[in-house]
Amino acid sequence: MSTATVALHGKEKAAATLVEMCTVRLGNTVFGVPITHILEIVGAARPRPVPLAPVFVGGLVHYRGDVLTTVSLRQLLGLPPREGRQDLLVLENPGGIFGLLVDSVGEVLTVSSADHEPNPSILNERRRALFAGAYKLKDSLLVMLDPEQLEPMRLSAGRAA
């Protein structure tokens, strides 16, 4: 599916660049995270809850000798908690590494920048800060997440503001 899209657009607009995205699913929405930011994908993580932590913190996980703070995308977006296991993306930012908890991790897609559109204006403000537009796929939308906006420290600063 994705290759078809790329091939099509590749012929039409030679200037478009190709980007690889890892798709993650949360409820019915498919999100994309640029794979350049992903260090590792850990299946079925069991984060340890941290009492008194900000609501978006999904807990702590043990990752390669370090203790990693995770951000729960569900809790961040104000969705009801989900029973059972969640998958974990280990993301790397200039500020350090952290985990992102999602319902499940899907495939890696190659998308073309030509299919990108910015956030729609009617999206609520909180989501507008977290999302970086969307890619139009053949039969669905891939909502982009901005890893830098997901940094726990930045999130807590945003909440305080």
Partner: protein, 770 residues
């Protein structure tokens, strides 16, 4: 900054460190040619390389030093005190330029003319000695004119100069032509500036070579890389544990997993070793400091260093540098007396300052001891009362040891009065704080007139601390044992009466004193209904962080564990209750509780008599609050035994009590123990061979005695009783749980005399007992 310059800086720094060590040694052994050679080499190397890198100022200074050292090496000069002082100044000058280069990438604008002139002046004696008076050296450039008549003394330092640009180098690149040049020196100029091995005859050269090969076999590694390796090894250990578990059923895998186990353990040890550094890294800075300070203060001091090879984690080594420096400074400033005072006191005018490092189990002990005046305990007592740190009444009962602990109180020692009169204590609280920060302990021991010993107990690694694992809100938490003083269990049935309330503040009577309680579950999950204390088991961890004493109530206790502390991300640190996280042996993650932060959050205040309490927290200082006693019952009477004298409490069958004449004795671990039975416990049970009695084994002087009792009741702190009217302390009794209780007089238990018709075989033992 380019790679070459950086390498030059590191190398020069090391060279100067070595030079500093050698210089202080040289003062002791001024004739030691090897030392002089070492010093010369350090300066020479710097000079050679600067020519390359174009640091003119540095080169000029190094050159002046080199000339002087050259004369010294030829024995034209003797290493007397002014000379060594001059060389130390040279060292400082070189260091400061290196520092500027490091910071600003250039040499800075400083003027070294005074220093250089001083160094040249120091050469004068040698020049006066020289047969052909070529004093041009002091004059600078002119010296280069007549190379041939130059006495050999001038030739030797020359080869290094070959590398230097000519304008300021008095000895130009002609050394090879000088007829007086020894053969070896001739080949040397060829490698030029790059070769640090100056021509110095065979022996030193060989040493240079071994030093060179040592450098080849070592490697500079970034500490952060080592930290990363340590982390990964920790991870490997956990993975190994899981592999071991998963493969335990499969015999084919047993061998493999055992091998994995072994390799992992080895790897872990190696990585830990890689982070270790010998304490000589900081000890080596001391001779210089001791020298400078003792000169400035007019003391005569000999420094003795022991256990330099003892190794310690690098980060810990860094952390104790300041406290140690402080301690040494204190010893010189306030400990060791001026020579006249020492002579007057009948001591050797030269004081001894001793630095000792040794490993004891999982700790490294570092001792700073002097044979100075010691701490005047009485003055400390007075000052403590003056400052309100303790009450006069209490001060009377404090022993020397307890009083010494007072100098660690914050603010106590900074007062000038104490410093002047007691002679010790500037910033001792800072020393203690710094050492405790890394999980260490500070002890002090002082004899008036004899000297003082300060002992630092440092854990081997920083990252591993002992902790008690507790459970609350269905999670495990790690509670560092440093702040933990005791644990109390209150079952659900007891809870209703044992936990008392003032409004909504829970309290527990701990040995008669009210202890504020903090329920961990309520603190961590406010706004949620929690089980009442009477519906579950309660464990009170009595904590005493920074003098805020409180009981933390948790649902359960697990084993104590040595935990590896992992830092938390900033967002979780902001919660303020957790100091880190750790992975437990069962691969479970646990947050590390911060007792001090919990006390603050829960609003636990410092106790009123805070300073005294701080003393209580000290190891071995438990006696500050009055002696603790073991309360026993014997024949219907209660009696108290000082807890410090109690070795063991033994329950033994009555028939094991034997008699020598009329005296009951117990064969206790192969030694004969006289059993005191003033309570009539033995007599009451006579004729009942099945009965069990309790013998409290006590230490009395250097012998042991047993006391027969019917019950052991409690441990309690005794209060002193004062005789009405005279306000004299009464002996033999103490106030225990508000009852006047007699203290068993252990000294009064008569030794087993040889006349007591003892069986012959026991005679020998009796002698040892008596």
């Amino acid at each position: 900054m380019d790679e070459l310059t950086r390498e030059f800086l590191i190398e020069s720094q090391e060279g100067l460190d070595r030079m500093e060590r050698c210089l202080t040694d040289l003062e002791e052994r001024p004739q030691d040619a090897e030392l002089i050679g070492d010093i010369f080499r350090s300066v020479h190397t710097i000079k050679g390389t600067t020519g390359f890198l174009g640091f003119k100022r540095l080169e000029k200074l190094a050159h002046a030093g080199e000339n002087l050292l050259g004369l010294l090496r030829e024995s034209k000069l003797t290493a007397d005190r002014p000379l060594i002082t001059g060389l130390l100044q040279l060292l400082d000058g070189l260091r400061s330029i290196l520092k500027t280069i490091e910071a600003e990438d250039n040499e800075g604008e400083g003027d070294d003319a005074v220093l250089i002139a001083n160094l040249e002046e120091l050469q004068l004696p040698a020049q006066a000695q020289a047969k052909q008076p070529v004093h041009a050296r002091a004059g600078g450039q002119a010296a280069s004119a007549p190379p041939l008549p130059r006495p050999p003394a001038k030739v030797k330092p020359a080869p290094p100069a070959a590398s230097a640009p000519p304008p300021l180098a008095p000895a130009p690149a002609l050394p090879a032509l000088a007829p007086a040049q020894p053969a070896e020196a001739v080949e040397a100029p060829a490698p030029g500036a790059k070769a640090p091995s100056a021509p110095e005859g065979d022996a030193p050269r060989q040493r240079v070579q071994t030093a060179g090969s040592a450098a080849e076999s070592t490697l500079r590694v970034d500490v952060s890389l080592l930290n990363r390796m340590m982390n990964l090894v920790g991870e490997l250990v956990l993975t190994r544990n899981q592999v071991l578990q998963a493969t335990s059923a499969d015999p084919g895998m047993t061998l493999l997993s055992r091998r994995l186990d072994m390799v992992t353990a080895d790897l872990r040890e190696s990585v830990m070793k890689a982070r270790m550094q010998p304490v000589s890294n900081i000890f080596s800075k001391m001779p210089r400091m001791v020298r400078d300070l003792s000169q400035a203060l007019g003391r005569r001091v000999r420094l003795e260093v022991e256990g330099q090879d003892t190794e310690l984690d690098k980060s810990l080594l860094e952390a104790i540098k300041d406290p140690l420096t402080h301690a040494v400074r204190n010893s010189l400033d306030h400990g060791i007396e001026p020579p006249e005072a020492r002579v007057a006191a009948g001591k050797n005018p030269e004081g001894i300052l001793k630095l000792r490092a040794a490993q004891e189990g999982s700790h490294v002990i570092i001792e700073v001891s002097d044979d100075g005046a010691g701490i005047a305990v009485e003055k400390v007592r007075q000052k403590a009362i003056e400052r309100g740190a303790i009450t006069a009444g209490r001060a009377v009962h404090l022993g020397e040891r307890e009083l010494l602990q007072l100098i660690f109180l914050p603010g106590f020692s900074t007062a000038d009065a104490v410093t002047n009169v007691s002679g010790r204590g500037v910033g001792m609280d800072v020393v203690r704080t710094n050492v405790e920060k890394i999980g260490g302990k500070v002890e002090i021991d002082s004899r008036a007139g004899k000297g003082t010993t300060l002992r630092l107990r440092i854990p081997l690694t920083l990252a591993i601390i002992p902790a008690l694992i507790v459970r609350s809100v269905n999670q495990s938490f790690a509670l560092p044992q440093g702040a933990l003083s005791e644990l109390v269990h209150i079952s659900s049935e007891q809870a209703a009466t044992a936990i008392e309330w003032i409004e909504n503040v829970p309290l527990y009577r701990l040995r008669g004193k009210l202890l504020p309680l903090v329920f961990l579950d309520r603190l961590l999950m406010p706004g949620v209904e929690h089980k009442a204390a009477s519906e579950r088991d309660n464990f009170i961890a009595v904590l005493d962080p920074d003098g805020r004493r409180f009981g933390l109530v948790v649902d359960g206790l697990a084993d104590p564990e040595e935990i590896v502390v992992k830092p938390l991300s900033a967002v979780l640190k902001d919660i303020g209750l957790f100091s880190g996280a750790t992975v437990l042996g069962n691969a479970e993650l646990a947050l590390i509780l911060d007792p001090g932060a919990i006390a603050l959050k829960a609003g636990v205040a410092m106790r009123e008599e805070e300073p005294a309490c701080a003393v209580e927290g000290e190891p071995g200082a438990g006696a500050v609050k009055g002696l603790e006693y073991l309360l026993v019952e014997a024949g219907g009477h209660q009696a108290a035994v000082p807890l410090t004298d109690v070795l063991r409490i033994e329950q033994v069958p009555l028939k094991r009590i034997e008699y020598i004449g009329y005296r009951p004795v117990l064969n206790f671990e192969g030694q004969l123990l006289p059993v005191e039975d003033s309570g009539g416990v033995l007599a009451a049970l006579e004729g009942n061979p099945e009965a069990q009695i309790i013998v409290v084994v006590c230490r009395e002087g250097n012998r042991h005695v047993g006391i027969a009792v019917s019950h052991v009741l409690d441990v309690a702190a005794g209060g002193d009783l004062f005789q009405a009217g005279t306000a004299q302390r009464t002996g033999g009794v103490t106030l225990l749980k508000n009852r006047v209780t007699g203290v068993v007089d252990l000294g009064g238990v008569a030794p087993l005399a040889a006349g007591d018709e003892a069986p012959a075989a026991w005679n020998r033992m009796e002698e040892t007992l008596a």
